[in-house]
Amino acid sequence: MKKGYFGDFGGQFIPELLMPPLIELEEAMETILPSEAFQSRFAAMLKENVGRPSAITYCPNLSRDLGLDLWLKREDLNHSGAHKINNTLGQGLLAKMMGKKVLLAETGAGMHGVATTVAAAMLDMKAVIYMGATDVVRQAPNVNRMRLMGAEIIAVESGTKTLKDAINEALRRWLSDQETTHYCFGTAAGPHPFPTLVREFQQIISKEAREQFMTRNQGKLPDVVVACVGGGSNAIGMFHNFVPDESVKLVGVEAAGTGEPGCYSSAPIDHGTEGVLHGMKTKLLQTPEGQIEPSHSVAAGLDYPGVGPEHAHLDAIGRVDYTTINDTQAINAFKVLSRREGIIPALESSHAVAYAIENRDKLQGQSVLVCLSGRGDKDLGILDEIL
Protein backbone atom coordinates (compact mmCIF):
# COMPACT_ATOMS: atom_id res chain seq x y z
CA MET A 1 0.00 0.00 0.00
CA LYS A 2 1.34 3.45 -0.91
CA LYS A 3 2.68 5.40 2.07
CA GLY A 4 0.02 7.50 3.73
CA TYR A 5 -2.78 5.62 1.99
CA PHE A 6 -5.54 3.25 3.10
CA GLY A 7 -6.26 1.40 -0.13
CA ASP A 8 -7.17 4.14 -2.60
CA PHE A 9 -7.79 6.76 0.08
CA GLY A 10 -5.55 9.16 2.02
CA GLY A 11 -2.49 11.01 0.75
CA GLN A 12 -1.08 14.48 1.24
CA PHE A 13 -3.04 16.89 -0.94
CA ILE A 14 -1.86 20.13 0.59
CA PRO A 15 0.20 23.15 -0.53
CA GLU A 16 3.95 22.49 -0.75
CA LEU A 17 4.47 25.04 2.05
CA LEU A 18 2.81 22.60 4.47
CA MET A 19 4.99 19.65 3.49
CA PRO A 20 7.96 20.58 5.74
CA PRO A 21 5.84 20.61 8.93
CA LEU A 22 4.11 17.37 7.88
CA ILE A 23 7.48 15.71 7.24
CA GLU A 24 8.70 17.01 10.62
CA LEU A 25 5.61 15.52 12.27
CA GLU A 26 6.06 12.19 10.53
CA GLU A 27 9.67 12.05 11.75
CA ALA A 28 8.52 12.83 15.30
CA MET A 29 5.98 10.00 15.03
CA GLU A 30 8.75 7.59 14.11
CA THR A 31 11.28 8.73 16.72
CA ILE A 32 9.64 10.50 19.69
CA LEU A 33 6.36 8.56 19.82
CA PRO A 34 7.89 5.10 20.45
CA SER A 35 10.42 6.46 22.97
CA GLU A 36 10.24 5.46 26.61
CA ALA A 37 10.22 9.14 27.59
CA PHE A 38 7.03 9.74 25.57
CA GLN A 39 5.27 6.48 26.31
CA SER A 40 5.74 6.55 30.08
CA ARG A 41 4.64 10.17 30.44
CA PHE A 42 1.66 9.66 28.10
CA ALA A 43 0.51 6.57 30.00
CA ALA A 44 0.73 8.49 33.28
CA MET A 45 -1.28 11.39 31.85
CA LEU A 46 -4.00 9.07 30.54
CA LYS A 47 -4.31 7.45 33.96
CA GLU A 48 -3.96 10.45 36.24
CA ASN A 49 -5.46 13.25 34.17
CA VAL A 50 -7.94 11.59 31.82
CA GLY A 51 -9.12 8.87 34.18
CA ARG A 52 -8.38 5.92 31.94
CA PRO A 53 -9.34 3.18 31.63
CA SER A 54 -12.84 4.48 31.02
CA ALA A 55 -15.62 2.14 32.16
CA ILE A 56 -17.86 -0.04 30.07
CA THR A 57 -21.42 0.10 31.33
CA TYR A 58 -24.21 -2.41 30.90
CA CYS A 59 -27.60 -0.73 30.39
CA PRO A 60 -30.15 -3.02 32.14
CA ASN A 61 -33.29 -0.96 31.58
CA LEU A 62 -32.73 -0.14 27.94
CA SER A 63 -31.55 -3.70 27.25
CA ARG A 64 -34.86 -4.98 28.63
CA ASP A 65 -36.84 -2.39 26.63
CA LEU A 66 -35.09 -3.23 23.39
CA GLY A 67 -34.63 -6.98 23.75
CA LEU A 68 -30.86 -6.90 23.33
CA ASP A 69 -27.78 -6.51 25.54
CA LEU A 70 -26.69 -2.88 25.32
CA TRP A 71 -23.21 -1.94 26.52
CA LEU A 72 -21.60 1.48 26.41
CA LYS A 73 -17.91 2.34 26.22
CA ARG A 74 -17.87 5.43 28.41
CA GLU A 75 -15.61 7.99 26.74
CA ASP A 76 -18.04 10.56 28.17
CA LEU A 77 -16.44 9.88 31.56
CA ASN A 78 -13.04 11.13 30.40
CA HIS A 79 -11.77 14.43 31.77
CA SER A 80 -13.19 17.20 29.54
CA GLY A 81 -16.10 14.98 28.57
CA ALA A 82 -15.20 13.15 25.37
CA HIS A 83 -12.78 10.82 23.59
CA LYS A 84 -11.04 13.89 22.12
CA ILE A 85 -8.69 14.19 25.10
CA ASN A 86 -6.90 10.92 24.18
CA ASN A 87 -5.73 12.54 20.96
CA THR A 88 -5.01 16.07 22.18
CA LEU A 89 -2.84 14.93 25.08
CA GLY A 90 -0.96 12.62 22.70
CA GLN A 91 -0.43 15.26 20.04
CA GLY A 92 0.19 17.96 22.66
CA LEU A 93 2.92 15.96 24.36
CA LEU A 94 4.45 15.08 21.00
CA ALA A 95 4.40 18.76 19.97
CA LYS A 96 5.93 19.82 23.27
CA MET A 97 8.74 17.30 22.80
CA MET A 98 9.20 18.66 19.24
CA GLY A 99 9.79 22.10 20.76
CA LYS A 100 6.51 23.70 19.67
CA LYS A 101 4.92 26.43 21.79
CA VAL A 102 1.38 26.67 20.41
CA LEU A 103 -1.40 24.12 19.84
CA LEU A 104 -3.63 25.19 16.97
CA ALA A 105 -6.95 23.40 16.49
CA GLU A 106 -10.24 23.49 14.66
CA THR A 107 -13.40 22.44 16.41
CA GLY A 108 -17.01 21.73 15.51
CA ALA A 109 -18.95 20.82 18.64
CA GLY A 110 -16.22 22.35 20.74
CA MET A 111 -15.16 19.10 22.38
CA HIS A 112 -11.88 18.97 20.47
CA GLY A 113 -11.32 22.66 21.20
CA VAL A 114 -11.88 22.05 24.92
CA ALA A 115 -9.62 19.00 24.89
CA THR A 116 -6.89 20.91 23.03
CA THR A 117 -7.17 23.76 25.53
CA VAL A 118 -6.87 21.31 28.43
CA ALA A 119 -3.76 19.77 26.85
CA ALA A 120 -2.23 23.19 26.24
CA ALA A 121 -2.87 24.27 29.83
CA MET A 122 -1.42 21.03 31.23
CA LEU A 123 1.66 21.25 29.03
CA ASP A 124 2.16 25.01 29.53
CA MET A 125 1.45 25.81 25.89
CA LYS A 126 -0.85 28.32 24.20
CA ALA A 127 -4.12 27.17 22.57
CA VAL A 128 -5.51 28.85 19.45
CA ILE A 129 -8.92 27.49 18.45
CA TYR A 130 -10.75 28.09 15.16
CA MET A 131 -14.50 27.50 15.31
CA GLY A 132 -17.24 28.24 12.78
CA ALA A 133 -19.34 31.24 13.80
CA THR A 134 -22.50 29.08 13.68
CA ASP A 135 -20.92 26.57 16.05
CA VAL A 136 -19.70 29.32 18.41
CA VAL A 137 -23.38 30.18 18.95
CA ARG A 138 -24.82 26.66 19.17
CA GLN A 139 -22.04 25.27 21.39
CA ALA A 140 -21.70 28.25 23.75
CA PRO A 141 -20.97 26.21 26.92
CA ASN A 142 -17.83 24.79 25.33
CA VAL A 143 -16.77 28.24 24.12
CA ASN A 144 -17.03 29.48 27.70
CA ARG A 145 -14.98 26.55 28.99
CA MET A 146 -12.25 27.19 26.44
CA ARG A 147 -12.11 30.90 27.29
CA LEU A 148 -11.90 30.10 31.00
CA MET A 149 -8.93 27.83 30.40
CA GLY A 150 -7.12 30.49 28.41
CA ALA A 151 -7.68 29.65 24.74
CA GLU A 152 -7.72 32.26 22.01
CA ILE A 153 -10.92 31.55 20.07
CA ILE A 154 -11.37 32.73 16.51
CA ALA A 155 -14.91 32.64 15.10
CA VAL A 156 -14.79 31.80 11.39
CA GLU A 157 -17.25 33.80 9.32
CA SER A 158 -16.41 32.36 5.88
CA GLY A 159 -18.30 29.68 3.92
CA THR A 160 -20.83 27.64 5.88
CA LYS A 161 -19.37 28.90 9.20
CA THR A 162 -19.03 25.34 10.50
CA LEU A 163 -16.28 22.74 10.93
CA LYS A 164 -15.22 22.63 7.26
CA ASP A 165 -14.49 26.35 7.27
CA ALA A 166 -12.75 26.18 10.64
CA ILE A 167 -10.38 23.59 9.13
CA ASN A 168 -9.71 25.86 6.12
CA GLU A 169 -8.82 28.78 8.37
CA ALA A 170 -6.71 26.68 10.73
CA LEU A 171 -4.73 25.32 7.76
CA ARG A 172 -4.15 28.91 6.61
CA ARG A 173 -2.93 29.88 10.08
CA TRP A 174 -0.61 26.86 10.16
CA LEU A 175 0.92 27.97 6.85
CA SER A 176 2.04 31.17 8.56
CA ASP A 177 2.94 29.91 12.02
CA GLN A 178 4.39 26.46 11.32
CA GLU A 179 7.73 27.08 13.03
CA THR A 180 6.24 27.63 16.50
CA THR A 181 2.89 25.90 16.13
CA HIS A 182 1.61 22.35 15.97
CA TYR A 183 -1.71 21.84 14.22
CA CYS A 184 -3.48 19.51 16.63
CA PHE A 185 -5.86 17.99 14.07
CA GLY A 186 -9.00 16.77 15.80
CA THR A 187 -10.10 13.79 13.80
CA ALA A 188 -8.72 10.83 11.88
CA ALA A 189 -8.80 12.83 8.67
CA GLY A 190 -6.62 15.38 6.86
CA PRO A 191 -3.25 14.82 5.20
CA HIS A 192 -0.92 11.98 6.15
CA PRO A 193 0.26 11.45 8.89
CA PHE A 194 -2.80 12.80 10.77
CA PRO A 195 -5.22 9.91 10.06
CA THR A 196 -2.64 7.41 11.35
CA LEU A 197 -1.50 9.59 14.26
CA VAL A 198 -5.04 10.22 15.51
CA ARG A 199 -5.95 6.54 15.16
CA GLU A 200 -2.83 5.63 17.13
CA PHE A 201 -4.00 7.80 20.02
CA GLN A 202 -7.67 6.74 19.80
CA GLN A 203 -7.22 2.98 19.39
CA ILE A 204 -6.96 2.73 23.18
CA ILE A 205 -10.80 2.90 23.14
CA SER A 206 -11.14 -0.49 21.45
CA LYS A 207 -8.11 -1.94 23.20
CA GLU A 208 -9.78 -1.33 26.57
CA ALA A 209 -13.33 -2.05 25.42
CA ARG A 210 -12.39 -5.40 23.88
CA GLU A 211 -10.66 -6.58 27.08
CA GLN A 212 -13.39 -5.20 29.35
CA PHE A 213 -16.20 -6.77 27.35
CA MET A 214 -14.51 -10.18 27.27
CA THR A 215 -13.79 -10.03 31.01
CA ARG A 216 -17.45 -9.32 31.72
CA ASN A 217 -18.78 -11.90 29.22
CA GLN A 218 -16.77 -15.07 29.86
CA GLY A 219 -14.30 -14.39 27.05
CA LYS A 220 -16.95 -13.73 24.41
CA LEU A 221 -16.73 -10.85 21.92
CA PRO A 222 -19.68 -8.52 21.28
CA ASP A 223 -21.88 -9.30 18.29
CA VAL A 224 -22.06 -5.69 17.12
CA VAL A 225 -19.83 -2.65 17.76
CA VAL A 226 -21.29 0.76 16.92
CA ALA A 227 -19.84 4.28 16.73
CA CYS A 228 -20.92 7.60 15.23
CA VAL A 229 -18.87 8.95 12.32
CA GLY A 230 -18.21 12.59 11.53
CA GLY A 231 -14.54 12.89 10.66
CA GLY A 232 -14.37 9.50 12.34
CA SER A 233 -11.90 9.61 15.24
CA ASN A 234 -13.99 7.93 17.92
CA ALA A 235 -15.16 5.36 15.39
CA ILE A 236 -11.68 4.46 14.15
CA GLY A 237 -10.59 4.21 17.80
CA MET A 238 -13.58 1.99 18.62
CA PHE A 239 -13.18 -0.23 15.55
CA HIS A 240 -9.40 -0.63 15.28
CA ASN A 241 -8.80 -3.56 17.63
CA PHE A 242 -12.01 -5.32 16.53
CA VAL A 243 -11.17 -5.21 12.80
CA PRO A 244 -9.38 -8.60 12.89
CA ASP A 245 -12.35 -10.20 14.76
CA GLU A 246 -14.42 -11.37 11.81
CA SER A 247 -17.37 -12.41 14.00
CA VAL A 248 -17.85 -8.83 15.20
CA LYS A 249 -20.09 -6.71 13.02
CA LEU A 250 -18.81 -3.11 12.91
CA VAL A 251 -21.32 -0.32 12.28
CA GLY A 252 -20.46 3.33 11.56
CA VAL A 253 -23.35 5.76 11.93
CA GLU A 254 -23.31 8.92 9.83
CA ALA A 255 -25.68 11.86 10.33
CA ALA A 256 -28.60 12.12 7.90
CA GLY A 257 -29.49 15.66 8.96
CA THR A 258 -33.22 16.28 8.93
CA GLY A 259 -33.62 13.14 6.82
CA GLU A 260 -35.89 14.92 4.37
CA PRO A 261 -35.27 14.40 0.64
CA GLY A 262 -32.93 17.10 -0.67
CA CYS A 263 -31.79 18.16 2.78
CA TYR A 264 -28.10 18.48 3.40
CA SER A 265 -26.75 15.59 5.39
CA SER A 266 -23.37 14.86 6.93
CA ALA A 267 -23.09 11.41 5.40
CA PRO A 268 -20.29 11.34 2.80
CA ILE A 269 -19.89 7.56 2.86
CA ASP A 270 -23.60 6.92 2.32
CA HIS A 271 -24.38 9.91 0.09
CA GLY A 272 -21.00 11.18 -1.19
CA THR A 273 -18.52 10.51 -3.97
CA GLU A 274 -14.76 10.17 -4.16
CA GLY A 275 -12.77 13.41 -4.14
CA VAL A 276 -10.02 15.49 -2.56
CA LEU A 277 -10.41 17.94 0.33
CA HIS A 278 -8.38 19.01 3.37
CA GLY A 279 -5.31 17.10 2.29
CA MET A 280 -6.93 13.71 1.69
CA LYS A 281 -8.55 11.65 -1.01
CA THR A 282 -11.75 10.35 0.52
CA LYS A 283 -15.52 10.39 0.10
CA LEU A 284 -17.11 13.84 0.05
CA LEU A 285 -20.41 15.62 -0.25
CA GLN A 286 -19.85 17.55 -3.45
CA THR A 287 -21.42 18.80 -6.66
CA PRO A 288 -20.67 17.03 -9.96
CA GLU A 289 -18.24 19.93 -10.63
CA GLY A 290 -16.24 19.15 -7.49
CA GLN A 291 -17.40 22.02 -5.28
CA ILE A 292 -17.90 21.01 -1.66
CA GLU A 293 -21.54 20.92 -0.54
CA PRO A 294 -22.62 22.30 2.82
CA SER A 295 -23.37 19.60 5.38
CA HIS A 296 -25.98 19.60 8.11
CA SER A 297 -26.49 17.79 11.38
CA VAL A 298 -28.05 18.78 14.68
CA ALA A 299 -24.78 17.42 16.11
CA ALA A 300 -22.10 20.01 15.35
CA GLY A 301 -19.34 17.43 15.74
CA LEU A 302 -20.73 15.37 12.85
CA ASP A 303 -21.41 18.40 10.64
CA TYR A 304 -18.63 17.80 8.10
CA PRO A 305 -18.81 17.00 4.37
CA GLY A 306 -15.83 14.61 4.43
CA VAL A 307 -14.70 11.56 6.38
CA GLY A 308 -11.37 10.11 7.43
CA PRO A 309 -9.75 8.08 4.63
CA GLU A 310 -9.48 4.86 6.63
CA HIS A 311 -13.27 4.83 6.94
CA ALA A 312 -13.63 5.26 3.17
CA HIS A 313 -11.32 2.26 2.84
CA LEU A 314 -13.12 0.12 5.44
CA ASP A 315 -16.32 0.85 3.55
CA ALA A 316 -14.75 -0.02 0.20
CA ILE A 317 -13.53 -3.42 1.45
CA GLY A 318 -16.84 -4.08 3.22
CA ARG A 319 -15.41 -4.51 6.74
CA VAL A 320 -17.61 -1.84 8.29
CA ASP A 321 -21.30 -1.23 7.55
CA TYR A 322 -21.96 2.49 7.32
CA THR A 323 -25.52 3.67 7.80
CA THR A 324 -27.35 6.86 8.76
CA ILE A 325 -29.47 8.21 11.60
CA ASN A 326 -31.37 11.48 11.25
CA ASP A 327 -31.69 14.42 13.67
CA THR A 328 -35.07 13.29 15.04
CA GLN A 329 -33.91 9.75 15.72
CA ALA A 330 -30.76 11.07 17.45
CA ILE A 331 -32.75 13.45 19.65
CA ASN A 332 -35.05 10.58 20.59
CA ALA A 333 -32.03 8.49 21.61
CA PHE A 334 -30.69 11.46 23.59
CA LYS A 335 -33.92 11.50 25.60
CA VAL A 336 -34.30 7.73 25.91
CA LEU A 337 -30.80 7.09 27.25
CA SER A 338 -31.12 10.03 29.66
CA ARG A 339 -34.44 8.80 31.07
CA ARG A 340 -33.82 5.06 31.10
CA GLU A 341 -30.19 4.98 32.29
CA GLY A 342 -29.43 8.42 33.74
CA ILE A 343 -26.73 9.03 31.14
CA ILE A 344 -26.94 12.19 29.00
CA PRO A 345 -25.09 11.45 25.74
CA ALA A 346 -23.64 14.02 23.36
CA LEU A 347 -25.84 14.54 20.30
CA GLU A 348 -23.00 13.03 18.26
CA SER A 349 -22.98 9.82 20.34
CA SER A 350 -26.80 9.81 20.33
CA HIS A 351 -26.59 8.85 16.65
CA ALA A 352 -24.78 5.64 17.63
CA VAL A 353 -27.24 4.90 20.46
CA ALA A 354 -30.11 5.54 18.04
CA TYR A 355 -28.80 2.78 15.76
CA ALA A 356 -29.50 0.23 18.50
CA ILE A 357 -32.96 1.66 19.16
CA GLU A 358 -33.99 1.95 15.50
CA ASN A 359 -32.66 -1.51 14.59
CA ARG A 360 -33.86 -3.36 17.69
CA ASP A 361 -35.95 -5.82 15.69
CA LYS A 362 -32.99 -7.25 13.83
CA LEU A 363 -30.69 -7.04 16.87
CA GLN A 364 -32.89 -9.16 19.16
CA GLY A 365 -30.81 -11.19 21.61
CA GLN A 366 -27.50 -9.79 20.39
CA SER A 367 -24.84 -7.98 22.40
CA VAL A 368 -24.35 -4.44 21.11
CA LEU A 369 -21.40 -2.36 22.28
CA VAL A 370 -21.79 1.35 21.54
CA CYS A 371 -19.05 3.96 21.83
CA LEU A 372 -20.48 6.77 23.90
CA SER A 373 -17.97 9.25 22.56
CA GLY A 374 -18.98 12.24 24.68
CA ARG A 375 -21.40 13.66 27.19
CA GLY A 376 -24.35 15.86 26.34
CA ASP A 377 -24.14 18.77 28.78
CA LYS A 378 -22.94 20.99 25.93
CA ASP A 379 -26.12 20.23 23.96
CA LEU A 380 -28.69 21.16 26.57
CA GLY A 381 -29.09 24.65 25.10
CA ILE A 382 -29.92 23.20 21.67
CA LEU A 383 -32.31 20.71 23.23
CA ASP A 384 -34.06 23.44 25.22
CA GLU A 385 -35.01 24.98 21.90
CA ILE A 386 -36.06 21.69 20.31
CA LEU A 387 -37.82 19.87 23.18
Binding site: G11, Q12, F13, I14, P15, E16, L17, M19, P20, S158, G159, K164, N168, L171, R172, L175, S176, Q178, G275, V276, L277, H278, G279, L284, Q286, P288, E289, G290, Q291, I292
Partner: protein, 253 residues
Protein backbone atom coordinates in the same frame (compact mmCIF):
# COMPACT_ATOMS: atom_id res chain seq x y z
CA UNK B 1 10.31 25.21 -24.95
CA UNK B 2 6.97 25.82 -23.23
CA UNK B 3 5.07 28.94 -24.34
CA UNK B 4 5.21 30.42 -20.82
CA UNK B 5 8.99 30.27 -20.75
CA UNK B 6 9.21 31.77 -24.26
CA UNK B 7 7.08 34.76 -23.20
CA UNK B 8 9.08 35.39 -20.01
CA UNK B 9 12.35 35.11 -21.93
CA UNK B 10 11.00 37.65 -24.45
CA UNK B 11 10.36 40.13 -21.64
CA UNK B 12 13.85 39.50 -20.27
CA UNK B 13 15.34 40.15 -23.69
CA UNK B 14 13.67 43.57 -23.57
CA UNK B 15 15.23 44.19 -20.16
CA UNK B 16 11.88 43.71 -18.40
CA UNK B 17 10.47 41.48 -15.73
CA UNK B 18 7.84 39.07 -17.06
CA UNK B 19 4.34 40.05 -15.89
CA UNK B 20 1.91 37.37 -14.69
CA UNK B 21 -1.46 38.80 -13.64
CA UNK B 22 -3.99 36.51 -11.93
CA UNK B 23 -7.77 36.75 -12.16
CA UNK B 24 -10.39 34.19 -11.13
CA UNK B 25 -12.36 33.06 -14.19
CA UNK B 26 -15.60 35.01 -14.39
CA UNK B 27 -14.41 37.98 -12.33
CA UNK B 28 -15.78 40.63 -11.97
CA UNK B 29 -18.58 39.02 -14.01
CA UNK B 30 -18.72 36.45 -16.75
CA UNK B 31 -18.71 38.98 -19.65
CA UNK B 32 -16.37 41.59 -18.23
CA UNK B 33 -13.81 38.92 -17.41
CA UNK B 34 -12.90 38.47 -21.07
CA UNK B 35 -12.51 42.21 -21.54
CA UNK B 36 -10.14 42.31 -18.54
CA UNK B 37 -8.13 39.48 -20.10
CA UNK B 38 -7.88 41.40 -23.38
CA UNK B 39 -6.64 44.48 -21.51
CA UNK B 40 -4.06 42.51 -19.57
CA UNK B 41 -2.90 40.92 -22.80
CA UNK B 42 -2.66 44.25 -24.62
CA UNK B 43 -0.81 45.76 -21.65
CA UNK B 44 2.03 43.27 -22.05
CA UNK B 45 1.28 40.33 -19.77
CA UNK B 46 3.72 37.49 -20.45
CA UNK B 47 1.48 34.84 -18.91
CA UNK B 48 -2.12 35.25 -17.76
CA UNK B 49 -3.05 33.10 -14.78
CA UNK B 50 -6.72 32.18 -14.78
CA UNK B 51 -8.14 30.97 -11.49
CA UNK B 52 -10.46 27.96 -11.49
CA UNK B 53 -12.77 28.84 -8.57
CA UNK B 54 -13.07 26.34 -5.72
CA UNK B 55 -15.32 26.38 -2.67
CA UNK B 56 -12.49 25.73 -0.20
CA UNK B 57 -9.34 27.54 -1.38
CA UNK B 58 -7.00 27.02 1.60
CA UNK B 59 -3.94 28.60 -0.03
CA UNK B 60 -5.79 31.84 -0.79
CA UNK B 61 -6.31 34.92 1.31
CA UNK B 62 -9.61 36.78 1.74
CA UNK B 63 -9.49 38.86 -1.48
CA UNK B 64 -9.03 35.90 -3.83
CA UNK B 65 -11.40 33.73 -1.79
CA UNK B 66 -14.20 36.29 -1.95
CA UNK B 67 -13.74 36.84 -5.69
CA UNK B 68 -13.66 33.07 -6.34
CA UNK B 69 -16.82 32.42 -4.33
CA UNK B 70 -18.54 35.23 -6.21
CA UNK B 71 -17.60 33.55 -9.51
CA UNK B 72 -18.92 30.21 -8.28
CA UNK B 73 -22.19 31.86 -7.28
CA UNK B 74 -22.37 33.23 -10.85
CA UNK B 75 -22.21 29.67 -12.18
CA UNK B 76 -18.57 29.50 -13.27
CA UNK B 77 -17.23 25.99 -13.66
CA UNK B 78 -14.38 24.25 -15.43
CA UNK B 79 -16.50 23.30 -18.45
CA UNK B 80 -17.44 26.97 -18.99
CA UNK B 81 -13.83 28.14 -18.63
CA UNK B 82 -12.44 25.63 -21.11
CA UNK B 83 -15.29 26.08 -23.61
CA UNK B 84 -14.94 29.87 -23.60
CA UNK B 85 -11.16 29.67 -23.88
CA UNK B 86 -11.48 27.31 -26.83
CA UNK B 87 -13.64 29.89 -28.65
CA UNK B 88 -10.86 32.44 -28.16
CA UNK B 89 -7.90 30.20 -28.94
CA UNK B 90 -5.12 32.14 -30.64
CA UNK B 91 -6.50 35.55 -29.68
CA UNK B 92 -4.06 36.17 -26.82
CA UNK B 93 -0.40 37.05 -27.20
CA UNK B 94 0.23 35.99 -23.62
CA UNK B 95 0.61 32.36 -22.63
CA UNK B 96 -2.33 31.03 -20.61
CA UNK B 97 -2.10 29.21 -17.29
CA UNK B 98 -4.89 27.67 -15.21
CA UNK B 99 -4.55 27.77 -11.43
CA UNK B 100 -6.80 25.97 -8.96
CA UNK B 101 -7.30 23.05 -6.61
CA UNK B 102 -7.33 19.37 -7.44
CA UNK B 103 -10.92 18.35 -6.72
CA UNK B 104 -12.69 20.20 -9.58
CA UNK B 105 -10.06 18.88 -12.03
CA UNK B 106 -10.43 15.39 -10.58
CA UNK B 107 -14.21 15.46 -11.02
CA UNK B 108 -13.88 16.87 -14.56
CA UNK B 109 -11.72 13.88 -15.45
CA UNK B 110 -7.95 14.20 -15.79
CA UNK B 111 -7.66 12.83 -19.34
CA UNK B 112 -10.47 15.03 -20.60
CA UNK B 113 -8.92 17.98 -18.77
CA UNK B 114 -5.56 17.49 -20.49
CA UNK B 115 -7.17 17.23 -23.94
CA UNK B 116 -9.46 20.21 -23.37
CA UNK B 117 -6.58 22.37 -22.10
CA UNK B 118 -4.70 21.68 -25.31
CA UNK B 119 -7.77 22.49 -27.39
CA UNK B 120 -8.22 25.73 -25.43
CA UNK B 121 -4.61 26.86 -25.89
CA UNK B 122 -3.63 26.47 -22.22
CA UNK B 123 0.07 25.84 -21.69
CA UNK B 124 0.39 25.75 -17.91
CA UNK B 125 -1.27 24.43 -14.77
CA UNK B 126 -0.87 25.15 -11.07
CA UNK B 127 -2.59 22.88 -8.55
CA UNK B 128 -2.30 24.60 -5.18
CA UNK B 129 -3.03 21.54 -3.04
CA UNK B 130 -0.72 19.06 -4.75
CA UNK B 131 2.86 18.63 -3.57
CA UNK B 132 5.46 16.69 -5.56
CA UNK B 133 4.57 13.40 -3.84
CA UNK B 134 1.03 13.39 -5.26
CA UNK B 135 1.67 15.00 -8.64
CA UNK B 136 2.62 12.17 -11.00
CA UNK B 137 -0.90 11.20 -12.08
CA UNK B 138 -1.70 14.80 -12.99
CA UNK B 139 1.59 15.20 -14.88
CA UNK B 140 0.85 12.03 -16.81
CA UNK B 141 -2.52 13.43 -17.86
CA UNK B 142 -1.53 16.95 -18.91
CA UNK B 143 2.09 16.92 -20.12
CA UNK B 144 1.39 14.89 -23.28
CA UNK B 145 -0.94 17.78 -24.21
CA UNK B 146 1.76 20.45 -23.90
CA UNK B 147 0.58 21.62 -20.49
CA UNK B 148 3.40 22.17 -17.99
CA UNK B 149 2.74 21.55 -14.31
CA UNK B 150 4.30 24.63 -12.72
CA UNK B 151 6.29 23.87 -9.55
CA UNK B 152 5.34 25.90 -6.48
CA UNK B 153 8.05 26.37 -3.87
CA UNK B 154 8.67 28.72 -0.96
CA UNK B 155 10.77 29.96 1.91
CA UNK B 156 10.63 26.63 3.73
CA UNK B 157 11.39 24.44 0.70
CA UNK B 158 14.75 22.72 1.15
CA UNK B 159 17.21 22.55 -1.71
CA UNK B 160 16.61 18.79 -1.82
CA UNK B 161 12.88 19.31 -2.34
CA UNK B 162 13.55 22.03 -4.92
CA UNK B 163 15.54 19.44 -6.86
CA UNK B 164 12.52 17.08 -6.87
CA UNK B 165 10.40 19.82 -8.40
CA UNK B 166 13.10 20.88 -10.86
CA UNK B 167 13.38 17.50 -12.53
CA UNK B 168 11.62 17.79 -15.88
CA UNK B 169 10.00 21.10 -14.92
CA UNK B 170 8.92 23.39 -17.73
CA UNK B 171 7.42 26.87 -18.06
CA UNK B 172 8.57 28.62 -14.91
CA UNK B 173 9.03 28.03 -11.21
CA UNK B 174 6.55 29.80 -8.91
CA UNK B 175 8.36 31.07 -5.82
CA UNK B 176 5.93 31.93 -3.00
CA UNK B 177 7.31 34.97 -1.17
CA UNK B 178 5.68 34.42 2.22
CA UNK B 179 4.72 31.60 4.56
CA UNK B 180 1.03 32.22 4.25
CA UNK B 181 -1.84 32.77 1.87
CA UNK B 182 -2.20 34.99 -1.19
CA UNK B 183 -2.68 38.70 -0.57
CA UNK B 184 -0.89 42.02 -0.57
CA UNK B 185 1.86 42.70 1.95
CA UNK B 186 3.66 45.95 2.68
CA UNK B 187 6.93 44.23 3.48
CA UNK B 188 8.36 40.96 2.21
CA UNK B 189 10.52 38.62 4.32
CA UNK B 190 14.28 39.21 4.25
CA UNK B 191 15.00 35.52 3.63
CA UNK B 192 13.57 35.67 0.11
CA UNK B 193 16.89 36.69 -1.47
CA UNK B 194 18.82 33.78 -0.01
CA UNK B 195 16.14 31.25 -1.03
CA UNK B 196 15.76 32.76 -4.51
CA UNK B 197 19.50 32.34 -4.94
CA UNK B 198 19.15 28.66 -3.98
CA UNK B 199 16.30 28.24 -6.46
CA UNK B 200 18.46 29.84 -9.15
CA UNK B 201 21.05 27.12 -8.63
CA UNK B 202 18.46 24.35 -8.90
CA UNK B 203 16.08 25.45 -11.68
CA UNK B 204 17.07 26.06 -15.29
CA UNK B 205 13.71 27.65 -16.11
CA UNK B 206 12.59 31.23 -15.22
CA UNK B 207 11.65 32.00 -11.63
CA UNK B 208 8.53 34.04 -10.88
CA UNK B 209 7.86 35.67 -7.51
CA UNK B 210 4.28 35.69 -6.26
CA UNK B 211 2.11 36.30 -3.14
CA UNK B 212 2.17 39.74 -1.58
CA UNK B 213 3.26 41.60 -4.71
CA UNK B 214 1.41 44.85 -5.41
CA UNK B 215 3.88 47.30 -6.96
CA UNK B 216 7.05 47.10 -9.11
CA UNK B 217 9.06 49.03 -6.49
CA UNK B 218 8.94 45.92 -4.27
CA UNK B 219 10.97 43.99 -6.82
CA UNK B 220 14.04 46.21 -7.15
CA UNK B 221 15.75 44.40 -4.27
CA UNK B 222 15.44 41.07 -6.13
CA UNK B 223 17.00 42.19 -9.40
CA UNK B 224 18.80 39.33 -11.07
CA UNK B 225 17.28 36.77 -8.73
CA UNK B 226 13.87 36.46 -10.40
CA UNK B 227 12.46 36.77 -13.89
CA UNK B 228 8.75 37.42 -13.49
CA UNK B 229 6.23 38.82 -11.01
CA UNK B 230 2.81 37.36 -10.20
CA UNK B 231 0.05 39.58 -8.81
CA UNK B 232 -3.57 38.72 -8.05
CA UNK B 233 -5.09 40.28 -4.94
CA UNK B 234 -3.84 43.78 -5.81
CA UNK B 235 -5.31 43.49 -9.32
CA UNK B 236 -8.64 42.18 -8.00
CA UNK B 237 -8.89 45.04 -5.49
CA UNK B 238 -8.04 47.52 -8.27
CA UNK B 239 -10.85 46.18 -10.47
CA UNK B 240 -13.27 46.06 -7.55
CA UNK B 241 -12.68 49.76 -6.99
CA UNK B 242 -13.96 50.41 -10.51
CA UNK B 243 -10.61 50.89 -12.24
CA UNK B 244 -9.28 49.12 -15.31
CA UNK B 245 -6.77 46.33 -15.72
CA UNK B 246 -4.92 48.58 -18.12
CA UNK B 247 -4.40 51.27 -15.48
CA UNK B 248 -3.19 48.63 -13.02
CA UNK B 249 -0.58 47.47 -15.52
CA UNK B 250 0.67 51.01 -16.25
CA UNK B 251 3.44 51.20 -13.58
CA UNK B 252 4.68 47.75 -14.60
CA UNK B 253 5.20 48.63 -18.28
Amino acid sequence: MNAMQIKIEEAKARGKVGLIPFLPAGFPDREQFWKELEELDAAGASVIEIGMPFSDPVADGPVVEKASLQCLADGVNLAWILTELRKRKGQFKAALLLMGYLNPIYQYGLDKFGKDCEAAGVSGLIVADMPHEESQFVKDAVEPHGVALVPLIGLNTSKERMALYAEGAAGFCYFVSVLGTTGQRDALPARIKEKLAEAREVFDIPIALGFGIKHPDQLEQFEGLMDAAIFGSALISHIESGRSSDSFMEPWK
